[in-house]
C-alpha cells in the first residue's frame, strides 16, 4: 500500500513538474536572440535565417526517416511567402555567420533578416512650371556629411512636377550603415511615438468633444420626441407628497418609541407599514412632479442644433485641422529617413510598403535592430531583457504575433480584481444568511445542494447566460430603458387598470405590508417554540415577500419613466453589448459557489464558545457576527477568494462569449472622463493564448509567444494568489495570537 500511494504522488509530482518546467523553459527562451546563418543551398540558392528547430524528415507515410531537416526563421514575409522554412540538411552546401547581417523587428510585417547597405535622406520638392531645377549639393546633416544625388523628376499631385533627391549618408557600406542606423534610430522612434500620441490621444480627445456636442443635440431631439409628460396636477401632487412626508415622520417617531420598547410587536409592524407606505409615495411625488415638463419647442431645438453644429464646425476647422496639419508635417519629415536592407540573395530590399517594393524602408518602421552575429553575451542579455520589457509594456503588433501584451495583462488583472470585488461581498453575505440567519431545514439544504451543483455547470453555460441576461437584457435596459413600458395608469376593466404602473405599484406595496404583518404575527413569544399556526403564518409571509419581489422586478423592467442612460448613442450600444463589466459579473456568478461554500465552512468553524461568549456579554446577533464570526472566518473567506480568483483568471470559454476580443483599441481605464470604461471590450491572457495558437495567420511565428503568454498567465495567477495567501497568513497569525 505504501508503494501504491507513493507511486500515485510521484505520478502527480512528475506531471506537475514537467508541466511547469515545460512552460517555464519554452516561455523563457522565446526572446533569446539566436544567430543568423547564411545558408548556401546545393541548388545554388541562398537564404538567411535563424535555425529554430531540427527534426528527422517524415517520409510520405508520415514516419520519421533517416534524413534530417531544419526549420529556419527567414522573416521577410512581405516579399517572401512564409516567415519560416524547412530546409533539408542534405541540400545545404554550407553555412556562414556574416557579422554584418541583422534582424530587424518592424512595426508591420514582422521581422526582416538582411544586411543594411545604405542610409539616405529622401527629399521631395515641388518644381514649378518653367523653373530651373536647383543644383543637387552635398550637405552636412545631423548625422554627418551626405552626398546629394537627384533620382528623378516625376509628376506631382497637383499636375506640377516634383523632384526627388537623395542625400546619401552611407552608400554600399554595411559597417557604416550599422553605426549610422544606431544614431538615427532613437530619433526616428521618438518621432514615431510623437505621431502616434498625436493620432491616438490628441485627435481622440478632440473627436470626443465633437461627439459630446453631437450627443447633446441628439438628447434634446429625443426629449422633444418623447414630448412633455403631464404628471400630476399641483393639487394631487401636494396630497401625495404630504402623505409621503407624513409616513416618513410617523416612521421616525415609531422608531424612537421602539427604542425604549424594542419587543413591542405592534409598534414594529406599524413602523414597517410606514416605511413601506413612504416608499411609493415619495417615488410618486418625485416621478410625477408637476414642474418636470420642460421640453424644447421645435424652433428652440433647431436653434440649439444649429448652435452646436457651428461649434462642431469651429472645432473641426480649428483644432482638428491644426492637429492634422501637424501630423502631416511630422509624417512627411519621418518619411525622409530611409534605410536599404537587402536580403541574403542580394535581390530585394526591405520595402516601405508591400505595394511599393522599390521604396526603401523608413527608419522609424524599425522597432529594434539586432546585429545577431556580432553580439557579446551581455549584449545578448540586453536584447533578451529589452524584448521582455517590450513584451510586458507595449501594445501588440502584426496581428498579435509581435510586440507586447500590456493591454492583455491589464485586462486580465482588472477583470480578476473586478470579479473578486463583486463576488466576495456577495458570496459572504449569501453564506452569512444561509448559515446564521436562515432556519436550518430542508429548504436550506436544497439551496446548499443547488449552490454546490452550480460549481459543476460548464463555464460556457455561464457565458451564454451572461450574454443573454447581462449584455442583452440588463445592458439594453441601461442603454435604452424599457422596451415595453407599462402605462402609468392602466385602462379598461379591473385587470386593465391593474396593469398600469401605479396600480401595480400599490398592489406590490399592499402585498409587502401583508408580508410584514404576517412575519410579525408569526414570531413566537419568549421561551416558546413556534406553533404550527406561527409556522404557516411565516410561510405565507415569505410567499408574500416572494410575490412582492416578482412584482417589483416587473415594475422596474417595465418602468415608463426611464429612457435609458445612453439612448442618444443608439444604435451604437454602450452597455447593451459585450464588455468588461458583464464579463466580470458573469465570472463572479461562475465563482460564487466557491466563495459561498468556503465562507459557510469558515463560519461554521468559528467555535460555539466564541459566539456564546459574545452573546453572554450582551452582544446582538449582528454585533456577534461582525466582531467575532466574520473576523474568525476571514482566513476561510480569503481561501474562497483565492480559489475564486484562480478559477476566474484562468477561465476562457465564457469570456469568448461575453467580451474578450482579439484586439481592444482602448484600455478600460484611461484619462478620458469618467476614467473607468467598464462597457469596453478587453483583452485577456487566456483568450490571447487561444487566439495566438489557433487563430493566428502565422502559427510558427506565434508558437513561441504562446508559450511565453502561458508563462505570463501562470505567473500572474500565481502572483495574485501569493498576495492573497500572504494576507491570509497575516490574518491567521493575528487570530492565533502570535506576538507582534
Amino acid at each position: 500500500m505504501l508503494w501504491l500511494t507513493a507511486a500515485a504522488i510521484v505520478v502527480c509530482l512528475v506531471a506537475i513538474v514537467s508541466l511547469t518546467g515545460l512552460v517555464i523553459v519554452q516561455g523563457a527562451k522565446t526572446f533569446w536572440p539566436g544567430r543568423i546563418e547564411r545558408v548556401e543551398l546545393a541548388s545554388g540558392g541562398v537564404l538567411m535565417g535563424i535555425a529554430v528547430d531540427e527534426e528527422a524528415t517524415p517520409d510520405s507515410s508520415g514516419r520519421a526517416g533517416d534524413a534530417r531537416r531544419r526549420l529556419y526563421r527567414v522573416g521577410n514575409r512581405d516579399v517572401g511567402a512564409q516567415a519560416f522554412e524547412w530546409i533539408d540538411v542534405d541540400a545545404i552546401a554550407g553555412t556562414t555567420r556574416p557579422s554584418d547581417a541583422g534582424l530587424f523587428e518592424r512595426r508591420t510585417w514582422g521581422v526582416w533578416i538582411g544586411t543594411p547597405r545604405s542610409v539616405f535622406i529622401e527629399r521631395v520638392t515641388p518644381v514649378l512650371e518653367g523653373e530651373l531645377l536647383p543644383e543637387v549639393l552635398d550637405e552636412s546633416t545631423a548625422y554627418g556629411p551626405a552626398r546629394g544625388e537627384r533620382v528623378e523628376i516625376e509628376p506631382g499631385e497637383d499636375g506640377g512636377r516634383r523632384a526627388r533627391e537623395r542625400l546619401f549618408l552611407v552608400q554600399d557600406d554595411p559597417e557604416a550603415a550599422w553605426t549610422t542606423l544606431g544614431r538615427m534610430l532613437p530619433d526616428a522612434q521618438r518621432r514615431w511615438d510623437r505621431i502616434e500620441r498625436l493620432k491616438e490621444h490628441d485627435i481622440g480627445r478632440v473627436s470626443a468633444r465633437m461627439e459630446r456636442l453631437r450627443l447633446r443635440v441628439r438628447e434634446a431631439e429625443l426629449a422633444s420626441q418623447r414630448g412633455a409628460r403631464t404628471g400630476l396636477g399641483w393639487g394631487a401632487w401636494s396630497v401625495v407628497a404630504a402623505c409621503g412626508i407624513g409616513s416618513i415622520l410617523a416612521g421616525v417617531a415609531l422608531s424612537r418609541r421602539l427604542r425604549s420598547r424594542p419587543d413591542d410587536r405592534r409598534l414594529r409592524a406599524a413602523r414597517g407599514v410606514c416605511v413601506l407606505l413612504a416608499l411609493p409615495l415619495v417615488l410618486a411625488s418625485v416621478l410625477e412632479r408637476p414642474w418636470s415638463s420642460s421640453v424644447m419647442s421645435g424652433d428652440e431645438l433647431a436653434a440649439f442644433s444649429r448652435e452646436m453644429g457651428e461649434k462642431i464646425d469651429a472645432i473641426r476647422a480649428g483644432e482638428f485641422a491644426e492637429l492634422e496639419r501637424t501630423i502631416a508635417a511630422l509624417e512627411a519629415e519621418d518619411a525622409q529617413y530611409r534605410i536599404e536592407i537587402i536580403e541574403a540573395s542580394g535581390g530585394r530590399i526591405a520595402p516601405r510598403r508591400q505595394s511599393e517594393p522599390d521604396e526603401a524602408l523608413q527608419v522609424s518602421q524599425i522597432v529594434r535592430s539586432v546585429r545577431a552575429n556580432d553580439l557579446t553575451f551581455s549584449g545578448r542579455l540586453g536584447v533578451y531583457f529589452s524584448r521582455w520589457w517590450e513584451f510586458l509594456s507595449e501594445d501588440p503588433r502584426s496581428a498579435n504575433t509581435e510586440g507586447g501584451v500590456f493591454p492583455v495583462i491589464f485586462g486580465t488583472v482588472l477583470l480578476t480584481l473586478l470579479l473578486s470585488v463583486i463576488v466576495v461581498p456577495l458570496g459572504v453575505v449569501a453564506a452569512l444568511y444561509l448559515r446564521e440567519y436562515a432556519r436550518q431545514g430542508p429548504l436550506t439544504s436544497v439551496i446548499r445542494i443547488a449552490v454546490n451543483n452550480l460549481a459543476g455547470v460548464p463555464s460556457i453555460v455561464y457565458g451564454v447566460f451572461g450574454l443573454g441576461f447581462f449584455c442583452t437584457s440588463v445592458g439594453q435596459f441601461i442603454d435604452a430603458g424599457s422596451s415595453d413600458p407599462l402605462p402609468p395608469v392602466g385602462s379598461g376593466g379591473v385587470l386593465g387598470v391593474l396593469m398600469g404602473w401605479w396600480p401595480l405599484a400599490i398592489v406590490c406595496t399592499l402585498i409587502a405590508m401583508s408580508g410584514v404583518a404576517l412575519r410579525a404575527l408569526a414570531l413566537p413569544g419568549p421561551g416558546l417554540v413556534r406553533s404550527t399556526r406561527g409556522v404557516w403564518l411565516a410561510r405565507f409571509g415569505a410567499l408574500a415577500w416572494f410575490v412582492c419581489v416578482v412584482i417589483a422586478i416587473v415594475l422596474i423592467v417595465r418602468l415608463p419613466y426611464f429612457g435609458g442612460f445612453f439612448s442618444a448613442r443608439l444604435p451604437t450600444p454602450t452597455f447593451g453589448t459585450t464588455g468588461l463589466l458583464w464579463a466580470s459579473l458573469t465570472l463572479a456568478l461562475l465563482t460564487l459557489p466557491v466563495v459561498i461554500v468556503a465562507t459557510e465552512e469558515a463560519i461554521a468553524a468559528v467555535p460555539r464558545s466564541m459566539r456564546e461568549g459574545s452573546y453572554g456579554c450582551g452582544a446582538s446577533k449582528w454585533q456577534t457576527i461582525r466582531r467575532i464570526v466574520l473576523p474568525g472566518a476571514t482566513p476561510g473567506i480569503l481561501t474562497g477568494a483565492i480559489l475564486a480568483m484562480a478559477r476566474g483568471a484562468g477561465e476562457v470559454a465564457p469570456l469568448m462569449v461575453v467580451g474578450a476580443v482579439k484586439l481592444a483599441p482602448e484600455l478600460p481605464i484611461d484619462a478620458e472622463a469618467p476614467f473607468m470604461h467598464l462597457q469596453r471590450s478587453f483583452m485577456h491572457l487566456g483568450f490571447h493564448i487561444y487566439d495566438l495558437g489557433f487563430q493566428s495567420p502565422d502559427s510558427e511565428a506565434a508558437r513561441p509567444l504562446v508559450w511565453t503568454t502561458t508563462l505570463l498567465l501562470v505567473s500572474i495567477v500565481v502572483l495574485m494568489n501569493l498576495a492573497a495567501i500572504l494576507v491570509r497568513s497575516r490574518v491567521r497569525a493575528r487570530l492565533r495570537g502570535s506576538q507582534g
Partner: protein, 287 residues
C-alpha cells in the same frame, strides 16, 4: 417551598432519588436559612424542554444578594442548563421551550417585552473553557462596553484597569494590553474572562464550572478570585467539585435529574444535610 412541602420531603426521604428516576413528583428540601434574606434572583417553578425531553422540572431557587450560591449535582442534572437559562443563552438553541419564570431584581426574565440583549448586559457569564476572543487583551476586557456603544477611550481604559485589577490580572498583563489574549496561559485566560464578565458591573455573575479546564494552581487562584469578588457581586456558580463548592460558596443547591433536591447554607448542607441522599452524594458515595 412551604413548610408542609418540606415535611413531605422529609417523610419520603428514603426513596427520593428513586422517585425522581421514576418521574414521581417530589418536593425539594429547602433549609430555613436559605429562604430568608434579600433575593437578587428568584427562580420560580422553572421548567425547560429540549425538544421533547424535559431538562428542568419546576425548579424554584431563591438566590441571595451578595452571596455565592453553588449548584452541585451529578452530570446531566440540569445545573448548567439552569445557569444558562438565567441569561437566556438557551434561546439560541432550536426547539427549546420553557415554562415558569425568573425574577432578576424583581423584574421578569422571560416575560413579554423583555429585551434579551439588555438582560444579558445586566449579567456576566464565565464559561467552562476559557473563551477569550481572538483580539487584544484590552479589547477582550472592554468588549461588553463596546457592544453597548461605549467608545470613549478614557472610559474604556479606566474600566479595563478596574476589572483587570478585580480579576487579579492587572499586574501580569498591564504591559501587554495590546497583545493578543490568546497568548495568555489557561488560568490567565480564565481570569481574563472573569474580568470581561465583571467589566459592566453585572447584577449576577454566572460561573459555569470555571475551573474544570484549569490545572490545580490556576484553580486555586481563580477560587481565591471568586472569594474576593463575592464581596461585590452576587455569584451563581456551577461546580462539579464538592470541595470547591464547600470552599467558595455561601449557599449550595443539590440537583438531580433536573430537579432541585436540597438547598441550604453551605455549612449546613455539608455538615448536616437533611436528606441522606445529599450526604451520600457529598461524601462521594454516588454520582
Amino acid at each position: 417551598m412551604d413548610a408542609t412541602m418540606s415535611g413531605t420531603g422529609r417523610r419520603r426521604q428514603a426513596g427520593i432519588l428513586d422517585d425522581i428516576r421514576e418521574g414521581r413528583p417530589v418536593s425539594p428540601e429547602i433549609h430555613e436559612r436559605a429562604r430568608s434574606g434579600d433575593y437578587v434572583l428568584e427562580v420560580r417553578d422553572f421548567s425547560l424542554w429540549y425538544g421533547s425531553s424535559r431538562a428542568l422540572h419546576s425548579v424554584s431557587i431563591p438566590v441571595q444578594r451578595g452571596k455565592v450560591t453553588a449548584l452541585i449535582g451529578p452530570s446531566g442534572c440540569g445545573k448548567s442548563t439552569l445557569l444558562r437559562s438565567v441569561n437566556r443563552l438557551n434561546d439560541l438553541i432550536d426547539g427549546v421551550r420553557i415554562e415558569g419564570d425568573m425574577l432578576l431584581n424583581g423584574g421578569s426574565v422571560y416575560g413579554r417585552g423583555v429585551d434579551v440583549i439588555d438582560l444579558r448586559k445586566r449579567l456576566g457569564m464565565v464559561f467552562q473553557k476559557p473563551n477569550p476572543f481572538p483580539m487584544s487583551i484590552f479589547e477582550n476586557v472592554v468588549y461588553p462596553l463596546r457592544v453597548d456603544g461605549e467608545n470613549r477611550k478614557g472610559v474604556l481604559r479606566e474600566a479595563c484597569e478596574r476589572s483587570l485589577r478585580a480579576a487579579a490580572l492587572w499586574d501580569e498583563v498591564k504591559d501587554r494590553l495590546q497583545q493578543s489574549a490568546l497568548g495568555l496561559s489557561g488560568g490567565q485566560q480564565q481570569r481574563l474572562c472573569i474580568a470581561r464578565a465583571v467589566v459592566a458591573d453585572p447584577e449576577v455573575l454566572l460561573l459555569d464550572e470555571p475551573c474544570s479546564a484549569l490545572d490545580p494552581i490556576a484553580t486555586l487562584r481563580v477560587e481565591e478570585l471568586i472569594h474576593e469578588i463575592s464581596s461585590r457581586y452576587s455569584v451563581l456558580i456551577v461546580t462539579h467539585n464538592m470541595q470547591q463548592a464547600a470552599r467558595v460558596s455561601d449557599l449550595t443547591a443539590f440537583m438531580y435529574l433536573g430537579r432541585l433536591v436540597e438547598y441550604g447554607a453551605t455549612e449546613d448542607l455539608f455538615q448536616n444535610p437533611h436528606l441522606p441522599e445529599t450526604e451520600q452524594y457529598i461524601t462521594g458515595r454516588f454520582g
